[in-house]
């Protein structure tokens, strides 16, 4: 238990000193939050009983780019995974 606490403390200390590590963590956090939020929006529209709604957008990880990388890499396979 003490060993785990020490290693977490060391990681946090390393994070405070490295801008690169902070940037990586920030990107990962932003991507995860984007995914969770876009999933929430997607399912809330699907489950809504409203009228004249714009259909939802498939959840994505990267704000702004959304599905651009998947579409550029292999559009046919990516679309098939969504269908």
């Amino acid at each position: 238990m003490d060993g785990n606490t020490t290693s977490v403390g060391q990681m946090l200390a390393a994070l405070q000193q490295s801008v690169f590590a902070q940037a990586i963590v920030a990107v990962v956090v932003v991507c995860f939050c984007t995914r969770i939020l876009s999933s929430q929006w997607f399912h809330s529209i699907r489950c809504s009983k409203g009228r004249n709604l714009t259909p939802p957008t498939v959840p994505y990880w990267i704000p702004g780019l959304k599905h651009a990388l998947s579409l550029a890499y292999d559009p046919s396979t990516f679309m098939a995974t969504c269908l």
Partner: protein, 486 residues
Amino acid sequence: MFVSNDTDPSMAFAAHTTSYINVLTLDRNKYGDGSPFFIDGAGRKMLFVLDPDHIKGILRASKEMDPNPFIHERILGALMGSPQPAVDYYKSEGHNIDYIQTTHIRKHTTGSNLGLLDKRLFDTMKQTVGENLKSPGEWTEIPDLFAFVTQHVTYAIATTLLGTELVSSYPGLIADLWVHIEYTDQLFMGLPRFAIPKAYAARDRLLASFRAWSTKSEELRKRGAVNTTWDPVAGSGLLQEREKLYAEMPGHDEYARSAQTLGLLYGGTSLAVPITYWYLFETLRTPDLHTRVLAEIKNHVDPKTDSYSFMQLTTRPLLQSLHAETTRLYTVNLTVREVTSPVYAFDDKYSIPKGTSVFISNKWAGMYAPGWAKSRAQALARPLTTFWPERYLVYDGNGTEKIERFSDAGLSGNWMSFGGGEHKCPGRHFARNIGIVSLAVLMGEFELEVVDAERTRRLNPDHKKKAFGTLFPTGKIAARIRRRAN
């Protein structure tokens, strides 16, 4: 707030956690429950539709949903490499060129004109297949049946449409055409030349040869030195009339005309050739189906023409159903529309604004079981991910007096490999007959056998892996062929 009060808290927590794990992982096919959804590539949004009721509505709404903006910009411009003045002419007001060229293709690919195309196709294929065989009665090995069918069927289509001179003077035509077809998605998405140099190089060679052909063909036409039905240099009547039509159209120099020729050849081969392969292959590897199809072919020999009654063959219920099932399962293409009215409403719940691009994956619509359950539940007797040649047959009468017939009534939202509504593919009858003619040549004139039919089951493609593109077997399928004894 997401947990109802009458739920066991531990189970609710587990379910909630699982749903978030699903959200965070890329598990397959989780959005296609029938509701429309958007895919968004950095602001370029594409709406995907799967529900057959929505699809039928789209196909009927020809005034609110137009395929032409996508065709002009992405297909004619980006994919076929047409110069901008020609694309701009299509996009301009005050003409009905889309209607004119559609009716023109329809005129040349139906009725007696279709019979002429069938005959040319049959004679060409019979000749080229026979040229490479060993002595009569001896089997010739085919190491890769897909490549064999692709080569012979593409050659026969190209010769039928464009004449023999262009095809024989450009040995790389078939290879270049299939490179171009395989890069369809990257080209129509507008990837630059440095990203896909092989695709642009193949297209450049195709367009250059079509330009030279167009110029030569025009000279002959002006001198009246062509056979207007079919000419070895100027090609089919369809191509000759198209060249004349485009030559008089604003923005259509030889560069634009060559892009139009590429478009026609692409349209005549990209779906029809793979369909023909799968049509033939499924027949060859299923003994009962093979016997029944061969009997149909033999029953329609036309001794007067030393050929077959293709018009009658195309009305046979089994062959119609076989063709429909092949296109349903093995055609992996997209139907695209753009909303041209201020708003388009799918139903009470969903509506989309003007300018939205709507995509229908024909294969996925064909495999969407809830849609079939609504339209024709008995067609679900075998899974939609399997090939069942009788899927489109219905039976009239009762007891032993049952009469089978082909029916696609009510299935316009489930089976739409050639599009639908007012904009249904005008060359679909020719595409269907390419398959029938190929069967007549490769089964009626020759004996063709798959070497190890059981092994080929392991080479079946994954039917859920692609939203569009050509479906290949996952390995080479060996076969053998010999001339059929009379």
